[in-house]
């Protein structure tokens, strides 16, 4: 119910016989009313109303504003690659974010009804709504940091990855020259000389900082040579401070423990082993050669460093993720309020009739909540179209163009160096056009409620 119709000030008696005093009073009332409303309306007219008209006009002129170009700016929006990218990304935002947010909010709202600490939970999830996009942006730059030693997402990704895969111990190690070992393709190395039982294989590697060796590494020592075993040593062929003979095991040089070694015959791997603390390895019970000895690539693979969250491919989903963190509380609390106003008896009756929780949710809760879900969804769509700060803050400079959205592009074009006010105005007008349906909906809803 609204006041539009019911608070009419008592009108002057009809028939034109109103005494002058009454007319004067009503004129004074009108002046008072205008004095109350005028400051706000003047400001709205000057800073909201006039700019809309100005922008529409300005969008029909070129960058400098001197030449009338018709709809060229609008055409440019959909042809110029940077603007087109912004249009596409805004579309992704509008399609994905409101739907996911409404869905997650609905699920959380239903689930929180089943716990005792619902108030604390809602407070916690709602809290990010109070925080600026800037602070949230800095927070998530940190969360998504590429370095697993800093970004929590990649720390988790690496932990999960390494739990299922052995991490390599010697990334970057390589033979000195190609006399002793050559590359065997895809990052492994192969001894040039053929191996046979009774002969020792000495494999020196360089390219590793001595400090990065595992603690258990001992001075290198070849395994005991015997007639029925292929033996050898893998060691770091480098003496700190200089000296030593390249290609030979010097006393200060340490073995490389836990190095995987493969024994091949005719190209086929026939045995595998790993080196001991002194770098020695031994393939016992080897028949007559010749054999090959290989250090497989898994010893040298670069360590897994996680996912490139803020790289060109994932940056938009990553920023949407940060947006979800901020807005889930909004949809959950609004839907929760709608949920608590549902008729309890209907739900209880359905429960009594043996309906499962899922059926109740699908057939009763969701349809009854439809109006609330609609309001939440529409509100989110409007807000998502205007998202600016979050993209500006989270996307690192080089990938900003990949993450671009309309509101950001509008700023870039008009203020952030583009200096094309014609195109900037056109983007502003398009953003306004996009919310026009909601504007009409609001007005209609209001008029209906006030009738």
């Amino acid at each position: 119910m609204s006041a539009l119709t019911r608070n009419k000030v008592p009108s002057a008696p009809a028939g034109g016989t109103a005494p002058a005093a009454v007319r004067r009073r009503s004129r004074r009332a009108r002046v008072t009313a205008i004095a109350f409303a005028l400051p706000a309306l003047a400001l709205l007219g000057a800073l909201v109303g006039y700019p809309i008209l100005f922008s529409v006009g300005r969008s029909l002129f070129d960058a400098s504003g001197d030449r009338f170009v018709g709809l060229d700016n609008y055409q440019e929006m959909f042809t110029d690659p940077a603007s087109l990218k912004a249009v596409r990304n805004t579309a992704i935002w509008v399609v994905a974010a409101p739907a996911v947010l409404t869905g997650v909010g609905l699920v959380l709202a239903v689930l929180t009804e089943k716990i005792r600490w619902a108030t604390a939970f809602k407070l916690l999830i709602f809290m990010p709504m109070a925080v600026s996009f800037l602070a949230a942006g800095i927070t998530f730059r940190l969360v998504y940091d590429q370095d697993p030693q800093r970004g929590v997402m990649n720390a988790v990704a690496v932990a999960v990855h390494d739990a299922f895969n052995d991490s390599s111990a010697y990334p970057g190690a390589r033979p000195r020259g190609t006399d002793v070992m050559k590359e065997s393709g895809n990052g492994g190395f192969q001894a040039v000389a053929q191996a046979e039982p009774g002969k020792d294989v000495t494999l020196g590697l360089v390219g590793l900082p001595p400090a990065s060796l595992p603690q258990q590494a001992r001075p290198a020592a070849p395994a005991q040579v015997s007639d029925d075993a292929v033996t050898g040593v893998v060691y770091l062929d480098f003496v700190p401070g200089g000296g030593g003979t390249p290609g030979a095991v010097d006393p200060q040089e340490r073995g490389l423990p836990q190095m995987a070694v493969e024994l091949t015959k005719g190209g086929e791997v026939v045995a595998t082993t790993t080196t001991g603390d002194d770098g020695s390895f031994r393939f016992p019970d080897a028949g007559d050669g010749p054999y090959g000895v290989r250090l497989p690539p898994k010893n040298f693979a670069e360590p897994y460093t996680g996912i490139d969250w803020l790289g060109p491919t994932l940056v938009t989903p990553a920023i949407i993720g940060a947006y979800l963190w901020i807005w889930t509380g909004f949809s959950m609390v609004l839907i929760g309020a709608g949920l608590s106003s549902l008729p309890r008896e209907t739900l209880e009756a359905a429960r009594m009739d043996g309906a499962s929780e899922w059926q109740i949710f699908r057939r009763i809760t969701v349809p009854l909540l439809a109006p609330v879900l609609g309001v939440v969804f529409v509100t989110l769509v409007i807000n998502v179209m205007k998202v600016f700060d979050l993209v500006y803050i989270i996307a690192p400079g080089p990938v900003q163009e990949e993450a671009n959205v309309l509101a950001l592009q509008m700023w870039l074009v008009s203020f952030g160096g583009g200096n094309n006010q014609g195109l900037g105005s056109a983007i502003g007008v398009v953003l306004l056009l996009l919310v026009l349906p909601v504007m009409a909906l609001n007005i209609r809803r209001f008029r209906r409620s006030s009738r």
Binding site: L4, T32, I125, A407
Partner: protein, 308 residues
């Protein structure tokens, strides 16, 4: 929070004589076991969600308490094992930085007037739209309702030109005016609807007693409208405090608020976490305090504004 949790369902009375005495329709023990297990699952799930939600803020906070070397060398979570290395030095450093303290002060100088002005102007206009008669009133109000969803982007360029022409561009007053204008549609809408619910007899009685509209507004409408005004003030305050876009364009370097001062540091992200993390925390501590102090009003304001 305003949102009530569901009333606890009455516990099913224990059947007096074991399963035999069970009334038809009561859940069997097995079904109840399933329900308990499912309840446990919900608890676990929501606990995980809560932890996930807490992690980003916790990370920012812990990072803000570690020195630059620690932040460069290891993840913030390693500080949870060695809490001894935490320090307030970053905070003393940025609080000693005149640029940051000035920006903080600028944020206050923008937020407080912008909030006060919106409340005053919207209360006056809201009362006029609800209870005073002037030509075209209903039509003008529909325009205000339409303005609820107008994006600020459409105003940036024209208002920048306008302010440039009258010498407001770059000033605190300009930033405040822009915020007031774009806060007004929602503010007027909220207060007008709230004021319209005041019983007609109350106002009529006051008018009969010869009170002027100004007196009625001050002595009757404002006190009655306090809850709505509180929600509005909190909502508007946070909106302005958290703004970056408007200030980025309209605030000159002397007037720039904390958000703008911090975003200019984003280019070196990674090397300056010891500045950004405490800075971000400084900027969010005021909204968080407001949020926890006035959660009810805040939630109500957000919900009322869900058409904005």
């Amino acid at each position: 929070m305003t949102v009530q949790t569901a009333a606890p369902r009455p516990a099913p009375p224990t059947p007096p004589g074991g399963p035999a005495g069970r009334a038809p329709g009561r859940p069997s023990p097995a079904a109840r076991l399933v329900a308990v297990l499912r309840g446990g699952l919900v608890q676990v799930l929501l606990t995980v969600v809560a932890l996930v939600w807490l992690t980003p803020t916790a990370g920012l906070f812990v990072s803000s308490l570690r020195d630059a070397d620690d932040n460069a060398g290891s993840g913030w979570w390693s500080a949870l094992v060695h809490p001894g290395s935490l320090t307030f030095d970053n905070y003393s450093a940025i609080l000693g930085d005149s640029g940051i303290t000035q920006a903080f002060w600028n944020t206050v100088l923008i937020s407080v007037p912008a909030t006060a002005a919106v409340v005053v102007l919207a209360a006056l206009a809201g009362y006029a739209f609800a209870w005073l008669e002037f030509p075209g009133r209903d039509w003008v109000f529909l325009v205000v309702v339409g303005m609820l969803v107008v994006p600020v982007q459409i105003g940036l360029l024209p208002v920048a030109r306008l302010f440039g022409a009258v010498g407001l561009f770059g000033t605190t007053a300009g930033v405040v005016l822009f915020h007031v204008a774009y806060g007004l549609p929602f503010a007027i809408f909220l207060l007008r609807n709230y004021f319209a619910e005041i019983p007609r007899e109350m106002l009529e009685a006051a008018r009969m007693d010869g009170g002027s509209e100004w007196t009625i507004f001050r002595k009757l409408v404002l006190p009655v409208g306090r809850p709505a005004i509180a929600s509005l003030a909190i909502f508007q305050f946070l909106w302005v405090w958290n703004d970056m876009l408007v200030a980025l364009i309209f605030a000159g370097s002397d007037a720039q608020p904390l958000t703008v001062a911090l975003q200019s540091q984003m280019r070196q992200f990674g090397a300056n976490i010891d500045v950004l993390a405490p800075g971000a925390f400084l900027s969010l501590i005021v909204p968080l305090a407001v949020f926890f102090a006035f959660q009810r009003h805040f939630v109500e304001g957000v919900m009322a504004g869900s058409v904005k």
